[in-house]
């Protein structure tokens, strides 16, 4: 980023802060319970990495387009795969679990019922696999010729399987789809060596969440959330210094081999100008790591300062995932975290299970004081992981026999339809099929799910993970290792970054050779 661009981001932040100071909209939000900080209305991202043009995709335009198109899903699907089609299909998905909001489970069940109703002669075998097990399980199954016919993978995983020749190539036109129905960043995530190996089902970005009440008690302005990562550090320190060690500021996550970790560290790394490879550049080549550049080291240093020097984040950050963060947030032990829009619904669900009056009162206070805002910016940019999921069909070899192509097509078609790419991600994401934004269901969703506008405001700042088969190892293993090495003081910050860069470069060079 040029100096002029950098100044632009910073001045934009200042403008926003003035706006926040004068509007005082959060006070109204507080009266309504959990709220959205007014800063989310600002737009200063370019969407260069994802093709999400902020002029087209912002809370106002999304609200305006919702409900403008009626979709007859059954007719569209039967035009794709006739109703009388017989066959069999196995489908693995990290679907709703016990921690999911009831609406997610309900819609998932409804999806299965819809599929069975649309194609009654297709025998469907569904496996709802835990998110943390799906990757390993599918890796082993595919290697042994026992993969399912179709799967829905998080955005990070697919390329590895495509590179190993385990996924079928997809032609969008076979599904009545065209490239302009998706954000470019979404299609990029299913593309390997210029071929498409899947269809995006949903895309989202996370947001920054803070507890207004804790801010107030710590003497911070609850209407002025941190706008930069440096301010996050300051706020985090102030909270812990003021309220004692039982209340930590920022909910850091640095567990090894856990998908939650990169989703929460990469926005910071990119904001400072670092990157795992060069994925934050406008034309990435994915050839060399930039994680140990001065910018990357500065990002890691900030994590170190918060964990080691300030002790203003949970000590358990090294073993925590977002699941543990939820509990810490709900019990007022942390004041800030990065998460999905679904966090509000998830915490409400947890609230409903509490029976102890004291715990209930405290949790209710937390939910009432939840505020969503933009993920803070760094010296170089504001950034967030462009996340989501994709649907893939395995090859016959990976499946261990011929994949029923018609049945697989039916599943792929329905998963990526405007209706179900929306409903299957009701509380936590957006439809990848952009027609989904124009449906009446989107209108209903915007009216019933709070904070969606914050995460849509973050979309232009989205940066996709590197689209290389090494991404999974880099994000799930090498980067968490780097964090652990630095935070546990096994290595210095510079050594940890150098070690990670060395591992990433070795990994990339193995493919190159």
């Amino acid at each position: 980023m040029s100096d002029s661009q950098r100044r632009s981001v910073l001045s934009s932040s200042l403008d926003r802060r003035r706006l926040i100071g004068t509007v005082g909209g959060a006070a109204a939000g507080l009266a309504l319970g959990a709220s959205v900080a007014p800063s989310v209305l600002a737009q200063d991202g370019q969407g260069a990495q994802t093709g999400v043009d902020p002029a087209t995709w912002n809370p106002e335009t999304i609200t305006a387009m919702a409900g403008t198109e009626t979709v007859d899903t059954m007719a569209e699907m039967h035009a794709l795969v006739p109703a009388e089609t017989a066959g069999e299909l196995s489908w693995w998905v990290a679907g709703p679990n016990q921690a999911s909001p009831p609406i997610a489970t309900q819609l998932f069940d409804e999806y299965i019922t819809t599929f069975n109703t649309m194609w009654p002669a297709i025998s469907l075998d569904v496996q709802n696999v835990d998110y943390n097990e799906l990757l390993d399980k599918t890796r082993v199954a595919a290697a042994g010729g026992a993969a399912p016919s179709v799967t829905k993978f998080p955005i990070l995983w697919g390329v590895e399987f495509a590179a190993r020749g385990l996924l079928q190539e997809i032609r969008l036109e076979d599904y009545g789809l065209t490239a302009d129905m998706f954000w470019p960043g979404a299609l990029k995530s299913v593309t390997w060596q210029d071929k498409i190996y899947g269809i995006p089902t949903n895309n989202e970005t996370m947001a920054f969440i803070y507890n207004r009440d804790i801010f107030q008690r710590a003497g911070l302005n609850p209407d002025m959330p941190p706008q930069t990562w440096d301010e996050v550090r300051q706020a985090s320190k102030t909270i812990t210094d003021t309220l004692g060690p039982r209340v930590r500021g920022y909910g850091m996550v640095a567990k090894q081999n856990a998908g939650n970790t990169p989703f929460r560290f990469m926005p910071l790394l990119w904001a400072y100008g670092g990157s795992a490879l060069d994925e934050a550049d406008e034309a990435p080549t994915y050839a060399t790591s930039k994680i140990n550049t001065p910018e990357g080291v500065a990002a890691l240093q900030l994590m170190y300062d918060m964990y080691v020097t300030d002790k203003s984040v949970p000590t358990s950050a090294l073993t925590n995932t977002q699941v543990e963060n939820q509990d810490l947030f709900l019990t007022e032990q942390i004041a800030m975290m990065i998460s999905h829009p679904s966090e509000y619904v998830a915490l409400q669900s947890k609230l409903a299970t509490l029976t102890n009056p004291e715990e209930l009162e405290r949790a209710q206070r937390v939910v009432d004081n939840m505020v969503y805002t933009l993920i803070p910016a760094g010296p170089v940019r504001r950034a967030v992981v462009f996340g989501g999921s994709n649907a893939h069909i395995f090859t016959d070899a990976a499946h261990g026999g011929p994949v029923d192509q018609n049945a697989a097509k039916a599943m792929m078609g329905l998963l990526t339809s405007p209706e179900w790419s929306l409903k299957n991600n009701w509380t936590d994401s957006n439809p990848s099929n952009l027609r989904g934004f124009r449906t009446p269901w989107m209108k209903e969703r915007l009216e019933s799910i709070r904070f969606l506008e914050v995460t849509t405001s973050m979309l232009p700042y989205g940066i996709p993970f590197p689209v290389v088969p090494e991404s999974t190892e880099i994000m799930n293993s090498i980067i968490p290792d780097m964090l652990q090495n630095a935070l546990s003081e096994t290595m210095s910050v510079q050594e940890a970054a150098d070690d990670a860069a060395q591992k990433i470069n070795d990994l990339i060079s193995q493919r190159a050779s």
């Binding site: 590179a163 930590r248 090894q256 090294l318 293993s477 193995q510």
Partner: protein, 320 residues
């Protein structure tokens, strides 16, 4: 029916008992081989084939991006042995295995000695002490993980509430304490097994011998040292070896409680092999080499285990 006397080979004494050849013995035991054949076949399929396949694959480079294998000779082995992480993991595994085994033996032995005496509530206490052993390792791992959690762990919070500590007790997130904590949890889980084995062994100690020793004025210590302990030697040896093998193969507790962290401070051979195979880049070749190294260690322990079982004497093989 006329039969012909067997012809003796030149130079052999007719008085010496003839040892039949291998083929002859196999023919004689044909039915025995038939009976064990199903088990042998199953073992060849589920143990022999994977073993050979693992050794074979340990000489190849494999990774997540390419389904083909590249022959790399012993480079996987040299790579592992020259990596500092291997030696750190080996040290962790040693601490885990020896620490868990020795402490479980000591605690289990002590518990067995106490429970061998008659007292009111002995049955109840025995039942309670068995609980750690019978509950699922997964459940135990999660219970202990929450109890030892650095920020909202039951143990830390209780100690803080009592005023015994002023800062939260950080165990699982501290690389200098994490192994000790894991060993303690593992000992808690395993000592009832030792207790049962030793209690069974104590039943075999001849009571007349103990009575005679008492009559002769032997002290309790001398009775224990010269009568009880020698009778338990076999049980203790087998139990120790079984525990050592179990601990070398431990996966559930360390994996679920820490995932090998922080910064690999609780990474063991097994969890590292899992990480290399499935958690990182599908480097099956490197993981196979790691597994072969572990197998060699296990084979050495297995050798001593078999020797302990058979008393270490010559084989009581039937000759004819």
């Amino acid at each position: 029916m006329a039969t012909q006397a067997p012809t003796l080979p030149a130079g052999r004494s007719p008085n010496r008992r003839e040892v039949p050849g291998v083929l002859s013995r196999m023919r004689r035991h044909a039915a025995d081989y038939l009976y064990v054949a199903p088990a042998i076949i199953v073992m060849l399929v589920v143990i022999g084939y994977p073993l050979v396949y693992t050794v074979y694959r340990s000489f190849f480079f494999t990774d997540a991006r390419d389904p083909s294998w590249t022959w790399t000779g012993i480079s996987n082995y040299t790579g592992i042995l020259s990596d500092n992480l291997f030696w750190q993991v080996t040290r962790n595994t040693f601490v885990w295995t020896v620490g868990s085994t020795v402490l479980a033996i000591v605690l289990g032995f002590a518990a067995a000695m106490v429970l061998h005496r008659e007292f009111v509530g002995r049955g109840l206490l025995r039942g309670i002490l068995l609980i750690p052993w019978v509950i699922s390792a997964v459940a135990a791992a999660y219970i202990w993980k929450w109890m030892l959690h650095s920020d909202y762990g039951l143990i830390s919070n209780q100690l803080l509430a009592w005023g015994w500590i002023s800062d939260a007790l950080v165990v699982l997130d501290d690389r200098s304490r994490v192994m000790s904590a894991l060993v303690v949890v593992n000992v808690w889980k395993e000592f009832p097994f030792v207790m049962i084995m030793v209690m069974a062994g104590l039943q075999t100690v001849p009571q007349p011998l103990l009575r005679a020793a008492r009559v002769d004025g032997a002290s309790s210590w001398n009775q224990f040292r010269h009568i009880t302990l020698p009778h338990l030697k076999g049980v203790l040896l087998i139990t120790t070896l079984l525990l050592a093998v179990t601990n070398l193969n431990s996966f559930t507790l360390p994996f679920l409680m820490t995932g090998g962290g922080p910064a690999n401070a609780s990474q063991l051979w097994i969890t590292e092999i899992y990480k290399i195979s499935f958690g990182a880049g599908l480097r099956y070749g490197e993981a196979s080499a790691y597994s072969v190294i572990l197998f060699l260690f296990m084979a050495i322990i297995g050798y001593f285990y078999v020797r302990a079982l058979t008393g270490g004497g010559p084989k009581n093989e039937e000759a004819g």
